[in-house]
């Protein structure tokens, strides 16, 4: 077991497969990423590279026919891969909260949004109470004074209203609405209010702005930015937009076909990208003031049922070498970089013993 | 000589290649369907049951060991034996032969009802959906009126008013059954009507009748057929129910529901007259339902994934 690399989250060697009619989709092939408390890590990559699967795995929300087949997800001092469902439920929502790509679909259509937020607050209070009680060694409800539940409920409603105002919504107008009565932007604000209502240590944002109008995207991103700055919440941001990641994050993990191919601080990723795929991605991002043509990466994302041998990027790689289709390159620290940049890359061009 | 043949060969090969390329997705689709079919054992069982049912109906006169309507009062109500596995009824008729011959009546019922009800349903549905507006409103309200009756009750009323015979029972059920297909065909017609190519055909001067015949009808027919396979079980049950109530096939016709009704008075001591024809109904309906479920599952995009 290697040394823990991040004191909040350390994902290593994470493998996830989906069993489908056409065959086994090897969606994650040993993902490596880590982060400390309060940091913001962006996971970028093309559609289908496994960003969302990574996010869902951290919450252990992978559903049939998918399953985690290997690796570990250390959250603080516990490996989430090994925890039983009931222990996970005390972490979900409380320590790790999540917001999703399609906010309207992510809200229960037959429940008022206020009630959905209150439910989250109550749920976290209950699990906190049971954790406390189990630490004290007594039953959760043993010495609860009469009428406490009603008082707690009222305070939950108060928290819900504060949170709604906090995300820029008028609670009086919003709390009794149903999800179908919200616009996408409003629904995402509700989701953010819900996720942050329990003061999580880690917020996972799975493409939070992709399904929204461009003008709303910036608003939501700014809102998210100011809220997590206030509370020092760590954020794992899943996005396909390099620009969004650059704006928002401290660190970036670049994913390709189920692997993290490069990881490091914003500075090194943008100024000194090593992996050919990262280089390609950056060339595909438009920059203001520059008029040279955008370049796309030739080729297509590989079929993950029968992925290429060795490095999964080699069929598209302009710097391909003979060893590239033989073995998978190790994920190693890049040479000559400051430790604080945590620059890591998985590419034979930079393997140290060759 | 040789040259031309090889050119023809290569043309053939390229045709085949092109065909495979163009039709590839379709072939994959068919293969996938067959795969799903095999993976759903229940659908396979349904297919086998219906296959057997059709074979029995086809060869009924050869399979039936005795004359289904020949009476022999001296041997009435005899219990099942090796010679008469399903026993004899109150007139000494062989129940097995009656059940086997009855399968022909059931096939006839299903076939005619399907044709009539689909014809009515398609006409009403396509006209309503294609023209829309007032025509649609009127036709759909008429459909609603038919749907306001519990099916069997309306079929019973029709059958009785027409005089209870097998033919009239078939007509009566068709008069109730068409609403299902009318609604489906209407939905499909509305979809097709709003397609841009229909505008184009209209601009060329095609008549409404031609558009409905050659463009709307072919699109509407497949959902209707799928629905039909799922409703066949219900159709048999309805026909058998009419027979049982005395409002369908009349004695001595060996319609299964009517035979069950025959046996009712002798239930206590001579259960076989009731039990076996009822079992035949049950197994056939089960076959159709399993088959219908299988077809639905195979066409369901969520399961196809």
């Amino acid at each position: 077991m290697q040394r823990r690399r991040g004191d909040l989250l350390d994902v290593s060697g994470l493998k996830v497969v989906f069993d489908t009619y056409a065959g086994q989709v090897k969606a994650l092939n040993g993902v490596e990423l880590w982060m400390n408390h309060g940091e913001r890590l962006g996971v970028v990559g093309e559609t289908g590279c496994g960003k969302s699967v990574t996010a869902l795995s951290v919450m252990r929300l992978i559903e049939e026919p998918g399953r985690i087949t290997g690796g570990s997800i250390l959250f603080e001092d516990r490996d989430l891969v090994l925890l039983p469902e009931n222990v996970l439920n005390a972490i979900r929502g409380k320590d790790i909260a999540m917001i999703f790509q399609e906010p309207v679909a992510a809200l229960n259509p037959v429940m008022k949004v206020g009630a959905q937020i209150v439910e989250n607050i109550e749920c976290q209070r209950k699990s906190a109470a049971s954790v406390q009680a189990s630490r004290k060694g007594g039953p959760a409800s043993g010495n609860r004074p009469q009428g406490r539940v009603g008082v707690q409920r009222i305070s939950s409603i108060q928290i819900m209203r504060d949170m709604l105002s906090h995300v820029g919504l008028d609670w009086q107008r919003t709390e009794n609405l149903y999800p179908h009565e919200l616009s996408g932007g409003m629904a995402q604000r509700v989701m953010i209010a819900m996720a942050l209502s329990s003061k999580p240590k880690l917020l996972i944002a799975d493409e939070p702005t992709s399904a929204l109008d461009v003008t709303i995207q910036a608003q939501i991103l700014n809102l998210l930015n100011s809220l997590v700055r206030e509370t020092q919440t760590a954020v794992l941001l899943i996005t396909h937009a390099m620009g969004v990641a650059a704006q928002f994050c401290d660190f970036i993990a670049v994913m390709y076909a189920g692997n993290v191919v490069e990881y490091g601080s914003i500075r090194v990723i943008f100024n000194n990208p090593l992996h050919p795929y990262t280089k390609g991605l950056l060339k595909a991002v438009p920059k203001i003031g520059k008029t040279d043509e955008l370049q796309s990466i030739p080729g297509i994302v590989p079929d993950l049922i029968a992925p290429p041998d060795g490095c999964r990027f080699h069929p598209r790689c302009p710097y391909r070498r003979p060893e590239c289709d033989k073995a998978q390159p190790r994920f190693e620290p890049a040479r000559g970089e400051a430790e604080t940049d945590r620059h890591h890359v998985a590419c034979f061009l930079y393997q140290q013993d060759q | 000589m040789k040259k031309t043949s090889s050119a023809a060969d290569s043309a053939k090969a390229s045709f085949f290649k092109r065909f495979m390329y163009e039709r590839g997705p379709m072939l994959d689709d068919v293969k996938h369907s067959v795969y799903l079919w095999k993976k759903t054992p229940l659908a396979l069982i349904g297919t086998v049951i219906i296959g057997l049912f059709l074979l029995i109906a086809l060869f009924a006169p050869l399979l039936a060991p005795y004359d289904p309507i020949a009476t022999d009062l001296s041997r009435k109500l005899e219990a099942p034996s090796a010679a008469h596995p399903f026993g004899l009824d109150q007139f000494g008729r062989d129940v097995l032969s009656r059940v086997i011959m009855g399968s022909r009546i059931e096939v006839q019922i299903i076939f005619i009802i399907s044709v009539i009800s689909i014809a009515i349903g398609l006409v009403v549905g396509i006209v309503a959906g294609y023209f829309g507006g007032v025509v649609d409103e009127i036709l759909m309200r008429i459909t609603d009126i038919f749907l306001a009756f519990p099916r069997l009750v309306l079929a019973m009323a029709f059958a009785a008013a027409l005089r209870p015979t097998l033919t009239n029972a078939i007509v009566a059920i068709s008069l109730v059954e068409w609403t299902v297909y009318a609604r489906l065909a209407r939905a499909e017609a509305i979809k097709v009507r709003s397609q841009p190519y229909i505008e184009a055909i209209k601009a060329v001067g095609a008549s409404d009748f031609k558009i409905m015949m050659f463009h709307v009808l072919p699109m509407s027919i497949s959902p209707v057929i799928v629905q039909l396979t799922m409703r066949m079980g219900t159709i048999i049950l309805t026909a058998a129910s009419l027979g049982f109530l005395g409002l369908g096939a009349q004695p001595p016709l060996p319609e299964w529901g009517a035979i069950v009704s025959d046996g009712r008075s002798y239930l206590m001591n001579n259960w076989w007259i009731t039990a076996f024809p009822g079992m035949a109904i049950a197994i056939t309906v089960l076959g159709f339902n399993l088959l219908g479920d299988g077809i639905r599952d195979i066409l369901d995009p969520r399961i196809r994934r």
Binding site: L88 | I142, V153, A157, F158, L267
Partner: protein, 335 residues
């Protein structure tokens, strides 16, 4: 749109449909039959008798006048006199209706409760024993002919085992006091508990036979709907909140999964009324279904028309109620 205006719209549609129902029943009972009088009197009646009968029934008037008479009668609550019992059809129906309502209510409760529970368990424990059991139970439910299964159960539970009665609403030697016409209700009001429990015993087999196919349909729809809902994004959100599985299923999935089931319950009620005709025949249940069968077999046209109209009316009212319930449950329907 508010629930109120939805109800008004739906109600006016129903009035239109009921009018259509009356027309169809008129056509079925007055126009299709080639020779209703001959059917009543038999083929060899003297012509004077036939004419007198035609006049008595109003069949010598033009069709349109007959239609007006018929509609006028119905709006005055007069469905004519039964040709068999010579009593007003309305009186007959009121006598037979409570038994049908009692049976239908007990069957629909049985079907809804068992169907939803089976479908829910089936979806939640997919591919486990309870799922296989429930699926076999359901496919048999929609495949076995109720009239046959009823007879087989009578054979087993009455003739062979003697556990349950073969038919009727209560044993012949009992003389319950009648107030409302509903046997169980009357027995409970008057404290006749022997009648009450006897009535329950008589209700068991008919309820099962009448409710079985609806149970099966509801279980199948519930299973499919639940499986669909369990894959929705909001279920993932609920799980991400850290809610226990039980809460996710009961609080978040169940209500959403029930929405399509509610529509089916309305449609199933039609099947239930159809089934009542058969069930009442098999179990000698003194209800509207058996009344209609008897009048059809004796070609008692006023009774046929009255009974059919009543059945259609009940069905329409139930469907109206279901639609309103649907709008009340699903907030998306209201806008």
């Amino acid at each position: 749109m508010e629930l109120g205006s939805f109800i008004i719209k739906r109600l006016s549609l129903m009035v239109l449909v009921i009018f259509g129902v009356l027309i169809i029943v008129f056509v079925v009972t007055r126009i299709i039959p080639a020779d209703p009088v001959g059917a009543i009197l038999g083929g060899n009646a003297p012509p004077e008798t036939v004419d007198a009968m035609r006049h008595q029934l109003g069949l010598d008037k033009p069709i349109f006048a007959q239609l007006l008479d018929y509609l006028g009668g119905i709006f005055r609550g007069n469905l004519g006199n039964s040709l068999v019992s010579s009593r007003p059809v309305m009186t007959d129906i009121m006598e037979f209706l409570p038994a049908t309502i009692e049976l239908a209510i007990s069957s629909i409760i049985f079907a809804v409760v068992l169907g939803i529970v089976l479908g829910l368990l089936s979806a939640v424990f997919r591919n486990r024993f309870i799922d296989h059991f429930s699926r076999v139970f359901s496919i048999l439910g929609i495949s076995l002919p109720g009239f046959w299964l009823g007879l087989i159960l009578i054979l087993i539970f009455y003739y062979r085992l003697g556990w349950l009665p073969s038919g009727g609403q209560y044993d012949m030697f009992l003389f319950p006091t009648r107030t409302t016409g509903f046997i169980l209700l009357d027995a409970a009001i008057h404290g006749e508990w022997d009648v009450f429990f006897n009535g329950i015993k008589h209700l068991i087999l008919p309820t099962f036979i009448l409710g079985y196919s609806s149970t099966a349909s509801i279980a199948r729809i519930m299973r499919a709907s639940m499986l669909d809902v369990l894959h929705q994004n909001y279920i993932r959100t609920a799980r991400a909140k850290g809610l226990p599985r039980k809460v996710v299923i009961l609080r978040h999935a169940l209500k959403n999964a029930l929405i399509p089931v509610i529509t089916i319950i309305g449609l199933e009620f039609g099947g239930l009324l159809s089934g009542a005709v058969l069930t009442e025949t098999i179990f000698s249940w003194p209800g509207l279904g058996r009344y209609i069968v008897n009048s059809l077999l004796t070609l008692d046209y006023p009774a046929i028309s009255g009974g059919t109209i009543f059945i259609a009316l009940i069905y329409s009212v139930v469907n109206l109620a279901v639609d309103i319930l649907y709008a009340a449950v699903d907030p998306r329907m209201r806008s």
